[in-house]
Symmetry: none
Subunit: 249 residues, 2 copies
DNA sequence: AACATATTTGCAATATTTTGCAAATTAATT
DNA sequence: AATTAATTTGCAAAATATTGCAAATATGTT
């Protein structure tokens, strides 16, 4: 095992999970923790990541408040992301909504997948920057500080030029009778557009967003072809969605 | 076993596995490690791979790398950035081109400046994400992975909706008679547009870009109202620009 | 073909770097 | 403050590089 190889593996790992642990890598690569620590130091000197106690974290331009959300409930999001991958096929045009769940999907796209991603989310674009085969179209517009997306009429107009095969949709709140809702008016308008222009929609939701509602209406739950959550598809919380004919994973 | 043959095998191996080990090849090709090492040196000199301790690795597919370049020559860029600030006034609409010099400007905008920034550069947008008073409009389009900007006809179209007071323009190459040029065709087209839609232009350049040229033409130097560099305005390298009536700082 | 002249290759002696370990130090947690 | 975990430091062993040199091979010239 040459050093460069390890460095590459560490970088890959960090860009995928946003962090690495010394113990993890030491075991995986069969070298001592000291060695990994020294490797991380080399990379940190090149500003390619940030060394922290116990390992390293990604040195991405995305500030901490977002980063914190990103770290939250990582396990759930990985579960969700892995369920999504089976829907993706070479050649598709796929819309990626904002949000940390969709970001987790973007981060776990296999290296040989050839799709075109359309997004208004900086973190998603950022995650795919280094992807060798994915083409990224960014929908411009007014920057919505705090959620790291663009928003507004220009963004909507940009999406309207697209006809997507699939939409990876981030749910804010969903309720079987009230429908899909969110906390921001402009965001609602934008999400309406995303649903309209996509042939198929996969909605991602962690369990705490299920059966809740927010002020601004996006559409009925029947607009979602599939809902993917981190909990068991047969959980009773999800029964109403089954009845509505939605595919639950 | 002639040398050319070995070189080819080494290249093949590297492009397949992204790395080779001296020991591996020495055994496989029945030559000493010294020989392989020397072969690798030859290839490394031709920039076909990177020699590392114990073998060689492929040139990483992700051009190394915005984050690293960002660190380069920080002092010069700070000098340039401070010179720019006097041009900025509340209420202006200002285009920020991509590049590390313009990024340095974005990073040093005072907290109370109220301008609208229009950009196609992710790093610039990120830098302004936390700025309390600057409004950011992001020009969408296809993601140009190596420089982390958007590019292409959609990006141009987005800019065409704007009329800017000022353009903070990043120079690739500039030459008094040849004009402003760059290495990428699409980038050239985009930069042409930026210049067209701006009332005034401030071009930023470190001294190593002065009096050089690249394949794709953007326009004559007279399109630049002001050039800001990190060297003394009276430096003889800059004389020709003075004569062309350009303001040099 | 014979010769002189370069180039390439392997080897050995000598540096240099990398790595893992252990003791000392520092930082986080209770 | 006491305990635990992580880091730093110095060091020795192992791995890898460098250098000079001689033998082998190739190249060019008469």
């Amino acid at each position: 095992m040459v050093r460069e190889e390890r460095l590459q593996i560490i970088l890959d790992h960090v860009s995928k999970d946003n962090r690495v642990l010394l113990t993890e890598l030491s075991e995986k690569l069969n070298v001592s923790e000291d060695t990994i620590r020294r490797d991380i130091k080399v990379l940190a000197d090149q500003k390619l990541l940030t060394a922290v106690r116990g390992g390293a974290v990604a040195h991405s331009p995305i500030p901490h408040h977002y980063r914190a959300r990103e770290q939250h409930d990582v396990a759930s999001k990985k579960v969700i992301a892995s369920k999504v991958l089976s829907f993706l096929k070479d050649g598709q045009v796929v819309i990626f909504d904002g949000g940390t769940s969709t970001l987790a999907v973007a981060q776990s796209l296999p290296d040989d997948l050839r799709i075109t991603v359309v997004t208004n989310s900086f973190p998603v674009a950022n995650a795919l920057e280094d992807h060798p085969t994915v083409e990224v179209i960014f929908a411009g517009g007014r920057l919505f500080k705090s959620s790291f997306t663009t928003i507004g009429h220009e963004t909507i107009a940009a999406f309207r030029n697209i006809r997507a095969d699939l939409c990876i949709f981030g749910i804010c709140s969903v309720h079987p009778t009230i429908g899909i809702t969110t906390r921001d008016y402009e965001e609602a308008e934008l999400k309406k557009t995303m649903l309209e222009i996509s042939k198929e929609t996969i909605a991602l939701s962690t369990h705490e967003k299920i059966n809740t509602a927010d002020p601004y209406y996006i559409g009925p739950v029947t607009q979602l072809g599939t809902i993917i959550t981190d909990i068991c598809p047969h959980n009773e919380q999800l029964a109403a969605y089954h009845e509505a004919g939605i595919n639950i994973l």
